[in-house]
Symmetry: D2
């Protein structure tokens, strides 16, 4: 961290200010120039509050050189993290480290027939995981809110029928106790900065699929992961799912540059949600391919056996047939990138 | 709600589709033209999921005419809502309906001396409410997270010393049981779409200060209020506190047009946070005045007795002296608008 | 400007790099620390290209301390600039330095009757300037593009009839020769970064009303002014007219914090366009008042004698009667701020 | 176009309003319901100003069903447009219709050695076109503004030496007369809505590379193309180059979903600029691959023989060696998509 001091500050003031900083456990490198005085902070500055410093009357500017995240930082963990999920039938299903994780399934679990049919179909097409929402964050209190724990039972039946590990969204910490048979807990975009929830997730040992908030920076996404990791849980998958911008021709603006950025800054696996990222089923294949080409470690795709009758997000769901076709092409892309599905 | 049907749809298909819609409790007005067929939905359409409809193969476009909120809608509640808080010393302190509510205090409760000193000072200057955070949503897990319930005790001492009703942020539902002596519960921007929390707040009878999410639309803010109101709690204050845009010279972009819009669409009181809305103490007076001029029902302003040593948000906090000076000017603005502080 | 050097750079490399920087006319203050080496650049750094420096393999980060604008900078011109327009009938009409400039008139000049009627009406209500577009930047080539020079003749008739100086938009440099009788040349949001045009405007001596691009930062606005001023023309009025954000309930998001920011950073007058800034006539009074309360030096407001039949932007135009009523209130706000209309 | 009429409007008013609309050359389909009256406009509505209609007191909402562009619309031109550039040595170089156009070269032409060396190198690696700026739109008047026509001479030498057709940016219409030997005229993001310039370009017969404005919608990009096409010039390439959003970890947010959208709505070729789209050379390969995977018809990539000494945009320029390596991979991606470079 570098602090540029305002002109006119006295040498005594600067020394007192520096001494106070040193008490926070960092080393100070003071450079008093004729015109510009600069203080360099060396050591672990993640605990130094740059915003608070900025309020000090001596301070002109505060510049972070070091990233504010540690456990999520590739600097301290150079190899890719790979998430392994043990399968009930034996073996593991992995995401990261050269293995593409493809998560597929409907936005919401609706009926036993629906979820089992979709599960079996996506498994056949090569998906590695089944998704299905049972608690749904909806903008309107009058919209379908998901089947709740009843839906979770149906999802477990589909897990059994297909052999696929399951991914579903948790919306509140009290739901956690019944999430034991869930293989990967999804934290949705609207809860990415629910810090109380993140802290609690740090204490569990479940893999977390952490979706980027729709108006959060990539650094904030890494800080959300850091909240969980600081609690001791480092089994995290990051997910780019589109951000909110001025253009509304897509539901969100899928920010694929986040993939190379997150992969460079962090060792955590990064996947992409082209369904929410665009909002239109016809765009899903193009953006799924683009995500793999940009280096993603996997995808989460909405697949519904009857999109027109879906209770939620039908417009962005593809059919099992379209999914199977897409998987064929994705295997070719994966091969170029030296990865396997 | 108006549904434009795709060209080429057969009359039978359209009739079947219309019949299905009618089962959802709305009346159908079908207009089959030579070139464009249109279905009008009449009645309460708040329960109809426009997004789901959009996925149907017959549908070209879905257009909402009716607003998706009911209880927050001024249409069904033409008079301004006024929130009255009973004072321990007797009498009430109000927000809305011609009465400006000025909430002032530090970002975080830090020490007994700090919070009591600020409370007494802002009360003397004319503030109607004391704010002070004890649970702080911070981007980094390594930043100061607030004093927790210990801070709440200090805040209650300041309430006693100053006679001001208190406002503080709730971050998780389990904190609610200890919030009994809190007069107004603040829901922060990052929790505006924490729907599980909103539902629970609908079951309590505490006034809620609901801050707009930093990337939420004004309609989403009203829908968040609707979540709480649908549960039976209509004691809500809406708060504009700045949104995230491409320009970063201010911490957020304060969207003051939200005031006339929210006042037109809803009967709920609307206040403004010029501290978070700009991030700089020197901008707070200009934007506080602008908010009142634009029709706000009140303000929430960060005041700290020593901004340079604040543990949080010092850069945007004004001193008690600056606050007192601002209040003098605000009274003149209020008078023009026919309001009192 | 401060340059943080990457770790591992050799002392020789840094010295050679510093020597090259010195050749660009700045003084170098080199601070080699055990862990972090920093180079401070002192002097006029406006000609140093921070982006180009960032590409150098030795550079970790480049931080501007000095603002990149000089002539627009209040640092070098502490007093407010006031723009005086000589009136044909004698006397001057001013904007800035305690004098509010109110510019009113239709989006487009349509007919002699329309523009003369509006001109006389807004003059009577107290406007200081008449606006009216003759060249219109329209998103569609099939929309009304303005009356062109024929419209300019009508505008001049209205100038004569009302005695008001006129403001109209210039879209291309070849139009300049016929703009001699125009008192203030407006440069629209879409041309704010038409650098070729800005350079040419630097060579004329007409006052320029420079509107902020709808996705430009406030610093970019000041740099656009700097382009004109670098050519020798310092008669500039800055205009905030709303920016593009994710929320579309208003046509643009009016960024009123730009007023205190621009007034602090620059000596140039700053006005606000609440008509384009909101897109709705019913919001114009609230935002006009807010702009004055936030410290604006004036307003540009669309007034049309028959908004429903306006060929352009009728939805955001107020009637002459509404304008007169607004002016009454604005005088009260101006008085509080110690300004006159 | 569909117009929802406000409740309470009298039948006579609606009929008069309809009759006036009919005079604009469209057919009216009036549907008067008990509760909601709707007017459908049938025929060519591109000349109807939806914004102006919205101001009418009878109008509740105006909804466009038809797209506002005609000549750029795939509806009226179902096959892909392919742009063929005749080579001086004979033969053609194409973009679109299964042929990927790869444009490479430095941000700015700097010296004869630089531009010739880069030209020969990118040609060898398989580029189809050479780019190089001679007029540079720079935010600061004090930054390097390009070599001007002197630079154009150097670019022409590089064209001769390499045999590559050249692409360079035009900033003002008076430059056009000297652009005769230029093969493709680039219109930069800041001029995408310089409507006067677009109209003039409609009268020339040069191919136009039209870059999306950094805060323009995809529909506005198509309308800018429509401006040129309305003048008779349909040799246009659309270019996605990143948009401005709240996250600044990249220079711009590359919106790759624009590719499938533009390809669906329009017959024009669509290319991508991963250099400006990210601002970092190390991200260019990932995003170049993603663009091809998403269906782009080509790329424009900044290549510099010495990025660290580049006078402009060095940080985002890749070396000729990196470019050659990237081309190898791109050929594999092109093959999957059934395209050739």
């Amino acid at each position: 961290m570098i602090i540029a001091i305002k002109r006119g500050a006295s040498s005594e003031e600067v020394k007192e200010f520096s001494a106070n900083l040193e008490k926070k456990g960092v080393k100070i490198h003071l450079s008093e120039g004729a015109i510009q005085t600069i203080i360099g902070l060396v050591g672990d500055t993640t605990g130094i509050d740059a915003e608070a410093l900025q309020a000090h009357h001596l301070v002109e500017k505060v510049i972070r050189v070091q990233e504010p995240y540690k456990r999520a930082n590739r600097l301290f963990h150079p190899e890719d993290s790979r998430l392994d999920i043990a399968l009930e039938a034996g073996g593991v299903q992995s995401i990261g480290g050269g293995k593409l994780g493809i998560i597929a399934g409907p936005c919401s679990v609706e009926t036993r027939e629906q979820i089992v049919e979709v599960a079996v179909a996506v498994k056949k097409a090569g998906a590695g995981f089944l998704r299905g929402g049972v608690f749904k964050p909806r903008t309107s209190p009058y919209s379908f809110q998901g089947l709740g724990f009843e839906g979770l039972d149906l999802l477990l039946e589909a897990k059994k029928a297909s052999g696929l590990p399951i991914v579903t969204e948790l919306m509140a910490i009290h739901q956690l106790e019944l999430f034991d048979p869930v293989d990967i807990i999804q934290i949705g975009a609207r809860n990415m900065q629910n810090f109380t929830l993140l802290k609690e997730l740090g204490h569990c040992r479940k893999p977390i699929l952490l979706k980027r908030g729709y108006a959060c920076t990539v650094t904030e996404l890494l800080m959300a992961a850091e909240y969980i990791m600081a609690g001791g849980n480092d089994r995290i998958i990051l997910c780019e799912r589109g951000i909110r911008t001025y253009d509304t021709y897509t539901r969100n603006t899928l920010d694929l540059a986040a993939i190379p950025f997150l992969k460079k800054q962090s060792h955590l696996p990064v996947i992409v949600d082209p369904s929410h990222g665009t909002g239109f089923s016809w765009m899903v294949p193009a953006m799924a391919k683009a995500a793999i080409a940009a280096g993603a470690d996997g995808l989460i795709i909405e697949v519904h056996n009857n999109p027109e009758k879906a209770l939620c997000d039908g417009e962005q769901s593809i059919t099992p047939a379209a999914f199977a076709e897409l998987m064929e092409v994705l295997r070719k892309y994966a091969a170029i990138e030296g990865k396997t599905i």
